[in-house]
């Protein structure tokens, strides 16, 4: 019976082009590589004195942030503007839902304003899927982070950063350290690394910060940081939120830092040319020492720069794929109308 309800691939149009960007789950190596290559070509745009290309001219992009964000929202906004789109920023926590308007009603209103793309951040896992499948399927949806589920643009900018520093993914050993359980970034990174062909993905955390079924993640689990960081090429530190000290997940920040905080000593267990990444915002002295965050192996600021290029790539590709589909739909309808006449 389950087979009758197998979920549809809703991210791609019938030519296999992106039309929504919701998750990396189900996207192949070719497509992820295309995103990275496209992003590479946009890096140069950011270095020009006039940082604009006309790819999204005349299109309306709405940033819908149901959760606070500075970095992600700013880079999405800059990316859309560099693509020449008209951009509307809506911070929902201070807007409609507090008046009791439903998510569906609000989005359909925005759709009626001829929006072409929604960039959505939401506290509920699956909210962008819900919008793309049930609310406004004609608007291209970009997931800017949903609950604990996925943060695919963050993962892709991390992949771009890794490729810039390591050249390729084959043979790479990557360790992701910290709060895996609550991390949408980790889930998307693991999917990206596996699809792109990394040799091994490790997660390093105590059991309380891991999902109960770690096999489902597709990563090797290490409780011990020394073993988990040994000879890795890339270290990804995750942000540890203060709330995690409640609910018996961890005894204290101190103990977490002693066991998992990335210090110079722990960095020494990795390969000498290992790079250190962090999706930000960083908690100095909680998951990472200042000397490491600002050190020569840190590529944290490169990640931010790459964020704009990757988001430009994803937005232009998804807008392209959706436009192809909408044009086809329009011409089919025109044919139908002509036949009726």
């Amino acid at each position: 019976m389950n087979d009758s309800f197998r979920p549809k691939q809703i991210q791609l149009n019938r030519y296999g082009q992106l039309k929504h960007f919701l998750t990396l789950d189900g996207l192949d190596k070719l497509l992820l590589t295309e995103i990275l290559d496209t992003a590479d070509s946009f890096i140069e745009v950011g270095e020009r004195s006039i940082k604009k290309v006309p790819l999204l001219r005349g299109k309306t992009v709405v940033n819908l942030f149901f959760e606070a964000s500075t970095r992600t929202r700013s880079t999405f906004e800059l990316a859309a503007k560099r693509l020449s789109a008209d951009v509307l920023n809506i911070n929902i926590s201070t807007s409609a839902t507090s008046k009791g308007e439903s998510l569906s009603d609000m989005l359909q209103n925005l759709e009626a304003m001829a929006s072409d793309m929604f960039v959505v951040r939401h506290a509920q896992s699956g909210a962008p899927h819900f919008i793309a499948s049930a609310v406004t399927p004609q608007v291209s949806i970009i997931n800017a982070g949903d609950g604990r589920h996925a943060h695919p643009t963050q993962a892709m900018l991390d992949m771009l950063t890794i490729r810039q520093h390591k050249g390729q993914f084959d043979g790479l050993v990557v360790a992701i350290v910290g709060d895996i359980l609550h991390s949408r970034v980790a889930r998307s990174q693991i999917q990206a690394l596996r699809t792109l062909g990394a040799a091994e993905v490790r997660v390093v955390a105590p059991n309380t910060l891991l999902p109960s079924d770690t096999d489902a993640l597709g990563a090797r689990v290490y409780n011990d940081a020394r073993a988990g960081l040994r000879d890795v090429d890339v270290i990804v530190m995750l942000r540890l939120q203060k709330e995690r000290m409640e609910g018996a997940l961890l005894p204290s920040e101190n103990e977490f830092y002693r066991l998992y905080g990335l210090t110079d000593e722990k960095l020494g267990w990795a390969k000498p040319d290992a790079i250190v990444m962090h999706p930000g915002p960083i908690n100095r002295g909680v998951e990472i020492a200042s000397s490491v965050a600002d050190g020569s192996q840190s590529v944290i600021l490169n990640q931010v720069t790459n964020g704009i290029a990757v988001r430009m790539a994803v937005m232009s590709m998804a807008m392209g794929g959706m436009t192809v589909e909408k044009n086809e739909l329009a011409s089919t309808q025109a044919e139908l109308t002509a036949n009726v006449r």
Binding site: N2, L103, Q124, S125, G126, G147, P211, S212, D213, A216
Partner: protein, 438 residues
């Protein structure tokens, strides 16, 4: 509808003949071709047509099955309080379309069914609707708050067939133990939905592979297993009749079997969707599959099927929970759990029987004699003089519930518009045709 029901109830001398049917006998676990005659709302005969029996109406069962009317241990009727989701009239109409002659409604109405007044309101509205018979379940604690006992004796006297705290958690074991002692005093059955509230907190799907991948908060299997063990030990201690509602996992069933071997008075049921589906349908965040307890693994599903086939599970229930569009057309975790499933239960049973996953006679027992036994009722069998509560159905043909013509007010059912095997031909309540397929 009020007038209609009265008119039909008024025709007391009416004789009905049901022919060409295979009559299900739960005590012998077999189907035998025979005729059934109904006189004045009671079963007049089963077998050969006595000389001189001249029916006013003849129902052709078309070689299908004539069963004691199905009894649902969980049909949320939403009235009083949630009439925007459904009403006693609409949901009992859906029930008879699904072949149910009796439905138990949970106490989580508004106001809560913790007084005789609310119980009477429900049964009066049900009589007025004139569809399925409604068997209310009273609240175990006042307001379902888990603090103070309801008037269990008064509720029983008013017509409540059991008491339950619904899905509201009982956090205080001292209160719970006293509730069970008091219920045992008055021989009131307790319906328990075993789920540890702290372990299940914020969860919306089975904790496992899919919850790890989708980043949805899981409800671990241990939340149910731990709670089952606590309920069983307290039932053993207090001697109360305990019914465990909607078990979802293999280990819970093992505990039930072990307890029965020790002589604990214990029954249990399973929701139909837990027999049909597993967690993997939630992939894609489809909120139509948001149910509680959650859909679990294939191993759990197989254990539940075996539980029905081996008689460890006493009843299959619909766990009918109708919702309006706004409750389900939201992101997965925010959606209200439940399926408005009373009309699709029998077709799904047919599906499972057709696949060889369920044994027909065992499934029918779990819809008739089994739930009757849970409720301590004598209905659920067909013998001369019993109320003519009957379900006539065929495994031939198909049922495809059209959203425009469905009985329930609820919009939430993944099988609406989906062809499923078999059809309910007629449902008779007290010898009266409550539903007939046209």
């Amino acid at each position: 509808m009020y007038v209609d029901a009265n008119r039909m109830m008024g025709e007391l001398g009416m004789k009905v003949l049901i022919k060409n049917g295979n009559v299900f006998d739960a005590s012998r676990q077999q189907l035998l071709p025979s005729a059934i005659g109904i006189e004045s709302g009671k079963i007049g005969f089963v077998g050969d047509i006595p000389a001189g029996f001249e029916p006013d109406d003849v129902i052709d069962a078309q070689g299908g099955i004539v069963s004691p009317g199905f009894i649902d241990l969980y049909t949320r009727l939403c009235e009083p309080g949630d009439e925007y989701k459904g009403s006693i009239a609409t949901e009992t109409a859906a029930a008879v379309r699904g072949g149910f002659t009796h439905v138990c409604c949970p106490p989580d109405t508004l106001p809560v069914n913790d007084t005789a007044a609310v119980t009477h309101l429900i049964t009066d509205l049900a009589k007025r609707a004139g569809n399925a018979k409604v068997l209310p379940i009273g609240a175990l604690t006042q307001g379902l708050k888990g603090e103070q006992l309801s008037e269990l004796y008064t509720l029983k006297e008013a017509g409540c067939v059991a008491v339950s705290n619904g899905v509201a958690p009982l956090r205080n074991f001292k209160v719970l133990r006293r509730c069970m002692e008091y219920a045992a005093t008055h021989n009131v059955t307790i319906f328990a939905r075993p789920e540890d509230a702290s372990l299940a907190a914020d969860g919306c799907i089975h904790e496992g592979q899919l919850s790890a991948r989708l980043g949805l908060v899981g409800i671990p299997e241990i939340a149910e297993v731990l709670s089952v063990s606590q309920w069983i030990l307290l039932a053993e201690e207090t001697g109360v009749r305990l019914h465990l509602s909607q078990l979802s996992c293999a280990r819970a069933l093992q505990l039930v079997e072990q307890a029965r071997r020790r002589g604990v008075k214990l029954t249990c049921d399973v929701a139909i969707h837990n027999l049909v589906l597993t967690e993997s349908v939630v992939d894609g965040f489809d909120s139509r599959f948001h149910v509680r307890p959650p859909l679990r693994t294939e191993q759990d599903r197989q254990a539940l099927l075996a539980g029905v086939n081996e008689g460890v599970i006493d009843a299959i229930c619909s766990q009918h929970l109708p919702h309006e569009e706004a409750a389900v057309n939201v992101p997965f975790a925010e959606s209200s759990p439940g399926i408005a499933g009373v009309e699709t239960l029998l077709p799904l049973v047919n599906l499972l029987v057709g696949r060889g996953e369920l044994i027909l006679e065992k499934a029918l027992t779990a819809l008739t004699e089994g739930p009757a036994r849970v409720l301590g009722m004598t209905t659920g069998s067909l013998c001369k003089g019993a109320s003519a509560d009957l379900t006539i159905f065929t495994q031939q043909g198909e049922t495809c519930i059209d959203v425009k013509t469905k009985g329930t007010q609820g919009v939430n059912n993944p099988w609406f518009g989906f062809p499923l095997p078999g059809q309910v031909l007629a449902t008779l309540v007290d010898g009266r045709l409550s539903f007939r397929l046209v």
